[in-house]
Point group: C2
Chain length 360, copies 2
């Protein structure tokens, strides 16, 4: 909202360089370029190279541009599963991935935890599922799933395609590209960009699996099959006219992150997370929703605010800081605070001071 700094976890606070990049884009005619032009191919390569550099994406991985992370849920199921998928579900978004598999007539299974709790060793099982999904950070509840846990899923299931929903964990949590096969996110969270673009990174195993699913005769969709995405990505193009401006801006913000230093951004994110959780612990009128500190997300920080929710929301907004609402059934009793690179240390210190001093 106008004049407020928003801590909503997506669409979220726009990264401070974005408006300048947009102005530059208009100055140089980017919004009118053809998506079949050399200029687009260059811009698209700049963006994927930026992501590769930022996260150390291995060379056998390809990077695709789609319309949203939601689209990746659907496309991955269409392209990579003939029969069975397995979904680690610990909140509304990971649950939706599982639900999509049901809607597509697959035979999915969900391993569920209570909202606000993370996965434990007992949740790891061997399965014959072709695709296993796990959200590195469940945006609805602020629960994270560690790379260590993901590595144990992998250990038990060397054959499955392991896909990581990194929607609200990137750029903070480094994906372990040796452990997993596929990682996706959307740009309106950690990258601080306007909504309307999803990014899907896949390794060669994922592409081989898509090929095998096709061989088996399954219909995989049309313009956004992995095959189509891959064929076009090889030319730094897309199967249909994409959100050109979104790709341009993502490339620019990757460069900004690289200049700032990804490790600097990450340590600042950890610092901001620490001060806010600390403030929670110093105020008796609220508490972290996620009780186990090991499962607490650093990038989406959720507070149980009970009866004080509206009061705290208004109090913070009155100071120019707009919290995110609790998700779904928690709307009236929780607040969420995105901790993305667009939000400065100073804004988190101010937020934390206000939270600490809050009296209902």
């Amino acid at each position: 909202m106008k004049g407020l700094l928003t801590f909503a976890p997506g669409p979220s606070q726009i990264y401070f360089t974005v408006e300048d990049h947009l102005r530059e884009a208009f100055r140089t005619g980017i919004p009118s370029i053809s998506h079949r032009s050399k200029t687009f191919e260059q811009l698209s390569a700049d963006c994927t190279n930026g992501l590769r550099e930022l996260f150390g994406v291995p060379s056998d991985w390809e990077i695709y541009f789609v319309s949203s992370a939601t689209e990746v849920w659907e496309r991955s199921l269409e392209n990579l599963v003939i029969q069975k998928s397995l979904h680690y579900v610990n909140g509304a978004f990971s649950a939706k991935y599982h639900e999509f598999a049901e809607q597509l007539g697959l035979n999915p299974r969900a391993i569920k935890t209570m909202e606000g709790t993370g996965f434990l060793s007992e949740h790891i099982e061997q399965t014959d599922a072709e695709l296993i999904s796990v959200a590195q950070n469940e945006t609805s509840t602020g629960v994270r799933t560690t790379n260590d846990f993901i590595s144990r899923i992998r250990e038990k299931n060397p054959e499955a395609i392991l896909i990581v929903d990194a929607v609200s964990s990137l750029p903070h949590l480094q994906p372990d590209f040796k452990l997993v096969d596929s990682v996706f996110f959307s740009v309106q969270k950690g990258f601080g960009l306007p909504a309307g673009l999803g990014v899907w990174m896949v390794n060669s195993r994922t592409r081989a699996k898509a090929g095998a699913v096709k061989e088996a005769g399954k219909l995989q969709g049309t313009y956004h099959t992995i095959q189509q995405l891959s064929d076009h990505a090889a030319k730094h193009q897309t199967p249909s006219t994409p959100n050109v401006l979104g790709i341009y801006l993502l490339g620019k913000v990757c460069r900004d992150f690289l200049r700032r230093g990804i490790e600097n951004i990450r340590s600042e994110t950890s610092y901001k997370s620490t001060v806010l959780y600390q403030a929670f612990s110093e105020n008796d009128h609220l508490k972290p929703f996620v009780s186990n500190p090991e499962h607490r997300s650093e990038t989406v920080i959720v507070a149980d605010t009970g009866d004080h929710t509206k009061k705290l929301y208004d109090y913070l907004s009155g100071h120019g800081l707009q919290p995110g609402d609790g998700y779904g059934k928690f709307k009236a009793t929780q607040l969420r605070f995105a901790n993305f690179p667009a939000l400065s240390k100073e804004s988190f210190e101010k937020l934390s001071d206000l939270v600490r001093d809050f009296r209902p």
Copy 2:
């Protein structure tokens, strides 16, 4: 491209108010608003109301936001066809719609004309296809299909869902909402907006058909089924995070068009078309690709430029006017000129003068 006015038919010249609207969007925090907020619902309603007013969309029609017109090809086939579709094909884009139906395992038929020619009475037939598609304007070849022709398809096929690809015909050609069931477009053509948003308008018959297809047990997809789109549109929302900024800008440009007067825009478009075709006729070194004047598009004007193609391209570009390339196999022998509202009368007069005077 920088400094050039582009006549490429999409992504195309940005409408001259867009940059100001973007600045205003950033000033008021639009890129950060939640797609579940009242602010978004209002912005989304403004956009659909603008479209309704601009085209006189009847009240039983709903308007959905998706990622592209390409997506509508896929979603319409998934949602509206159990067995059979029929596609009027007169160029690369209408052909792709037909191809999508094949990829989805349907049993589609295509009624084809040669590229550069339009449909004639003999092409109208009675069919038991559930969906009939026709492109009001085939962007690859600059051939238009008249409402009169569409009305004769309807006459012979009162039961089928008749869907019109209006990608490069809007806002110039008024859809006849009494004749057809579904109309779609993307915003990077006639609306002069950055790419990354598609709009799909459907009547109640279309929704009923989607319901019947669902009843019959067909899988229709996940988040972008007509049912999901409809349920969310009722609240002025979308099933997943959309291109919020794109919807905002489309609403603003609709208002700009309304202020300018849609009839003024249309008569100016006709004027611009007339002067350019006139220039074609006065230069022996090129000619309109579409020989039958009744089938010539006013919004995408295609010239057969043969061996002179590169020379004419360079000559026009040297004067600050960038033609669009010919499509596909015509890349080396044709040039295309979009005639959208973003391109002024003066720019068309200049273009026409240059074309008239061109000597290879």
